[in-house]
Symmetry: C2
Subunit: 352 residues, 2 copies
Amino acid sequence: MEHKNVTIYDIAREAGVSPATVSRVLNSSANVSSDKRQKIEQLMRKYNFNPNALARGLTETRRKVIGLLAADVRNTFYADLYVNCEIAAAARGYSIMLMNTFGRLDLEKQALTKLMEQRVDGIIHLGGAADDVETDKSFVKLLKKLPPKMPYVTTGKFDGVDCYQVQIDAAEAIDLLMAHLAEYGNHRIALIGGRYNVVSSKAKYDQFIKSMDRYGFVDEEVYLENWGTYSIQGGEETMDALFEKCEQNGIPLPEAVIAINDSTAAGAIRSIYQHHLRIPQDIAIVSYDNIFLSEIMEPRLTSIDYDFAAFGEKLVDTVIEALDQDPAEKKRLVHPSLVVRGSSLCKRDAAS
Amino acid sequence: MEHKNVTIYDIAREAGVSPATVSRVLNSSANVSSDKRQKIEQLMRKYNFNPNALARGLTETRRKVIGLLAADVRNTFYADLYVNCEIAAAARGYSIMLMNTFGRLDLEKQALTKLMEQRVDGIIHLGGAADDVETDKSFVKLLKKLPPKMPYVTTGKFDGVDCYQVQIDAAEAIDLLMAHLAEYGNHRIALIGGRYNVVSSKAKYDQFIKSMDRYGFVDEEVYLENWGTYSIQGGEETMDALFEKCEQNGIPLPEAVIAINDSTAAGAIRSIYQHHLRIPQDIAIVSYDNIFLSEIMEPRLTSIDYDFAAFGEKLVDTVIEALDQDPAEKKRLVHPSLVVRGSSLCKRDAAS
DNA sequence: TTGAAAGCGCTAACAT
DNA sequence: ATGTTAGCGCTTTCAA
């Protein structure tokens, strides 16, 4: 025996009113005499009426749902961002529909198509294709087919597509790190980890080189070109390689290392210890992201923090504002801050 | 100027066929002559036709969407489970609609209501109210209102509600740990961390006590009652308290400690080092969950692993089977395995 | 304040 | 193989 959901027609019939009146009560969209209202509300409770969101979405132009494309929420960076987007969305009466893409282009396209079929109001895209320094052509083609009124917001970029951007201020982050390292007397600084074809990593390297120049620090190429990955394992390997390069070229080791993220820093720490050096006395280390790893390592990590709550709010607000009062600003920046911990706290002699 | 989505009517008109025929090629639900099919497919491409999932969901009985209630995906345990549910669901043609509840009962109710409004086919509930040893009455009341045909699956339990359960085999997990510790000659073993009002933790303590009994190990009460939390911080405090209790009661320290999860173990390790003891030589430590923390700690942690892929599959399969071929088994177990690492590798003398 | 009626976009009998 | 038609459950003019 099939279970049938109660509809506004059922309620209307028993209350002796029209379905329209029930709808009005449901949405508080117009005045309804209080006796009818009460009767209707009582019946809704009695029959445990549960409005069909699909039917509503079919008529309403605004679904109050934002689609979110994220590479993989098992990565704490995306998990944090997702959760804070959800919190921000909920506070504004919206829901988030999340799709994991595992950084695979085919799954990203598929997920994007699904979100369109769901008629979400807007889309936030984190990681994956949004990270590519060279935007994939086929993805752009798909993006161009989006309804013009559906705002698309990303933490990366899409060449040739009209979309909104919310990005971490890479220049400000490097400034924070460099000022801190300079204050402690470091002159030989290396940046390690990350892939050159990822927008945010590229931005860090670019800003780093500019900054080294401005401070007049030692700009050995060995310090400036240490691309790698984003994993602990990768961090260890990249740091090992840096040791090797310094030795081979007879260049002194850096006094400080900036890791592209905390995992890379964790790997680098292993490598440094295996080379029988101390942190921060022999080499200071700082990194980006300030995930909980930075609290766990020995010594604890000095790291760039993002204020994910604000980050999530900006992403969601960009979507909603674009919807309500376009045109919103095309690009917004998230301000980073520096959390100083043990891994960088060692004064260098001026003579060094 | 408003953007209108193209519908099957638009396609039908231009192709000179009826909407039904367009629907047929859309769903491959019936034979359509190949010339019409081709014409229709071509027009769909030309106009970038994107079927409205809401309209489809309104008529179809099966939405192919499973709702997932999870406490917080920033917790790697839930993130892992969620992602693996999504992978399993996708492989079976389903999607997951995720809602975070932050372990708050009000949000859980709200999320549950939303999922019902979305007319999801079934619901998986992780953590939160499902973890309560004493199921919350008001939540049960809400659960009872679910359509009888909507399967409800949980990793915990709900007293007085007809639902499916997929749980880790607590007895098997304890067996694995105890056999391992026994093999290395440990006799004095303590269990630490976790809250007594959480189903899975309670199960671990119960099984632990039974097992201690069976092995004839030293069952000082001090070893058996060390409730705490699930955080690193909490692990440190609980372990500190255990040291204190042993000293006050003149009871020897345990040779091995089982932590309720890896975070608790991480905290306990800090505490042990602060008491100037060695791991595993003075105290061995093992734990549950095998999240990446267990790879990072020094020494690396021996930990119970769950095979999240299989776990996710079981959860999803339970929903789908209940839908397709009820009644499915009401309760399924997930088999844990043991990953042995440095934290427990030290033979005790028989004399100890 | 309330009701009648026309959609929203699609599916699924039922005819042909 | 294809078209006609009646919904699915709700919102929203337009009248009254």
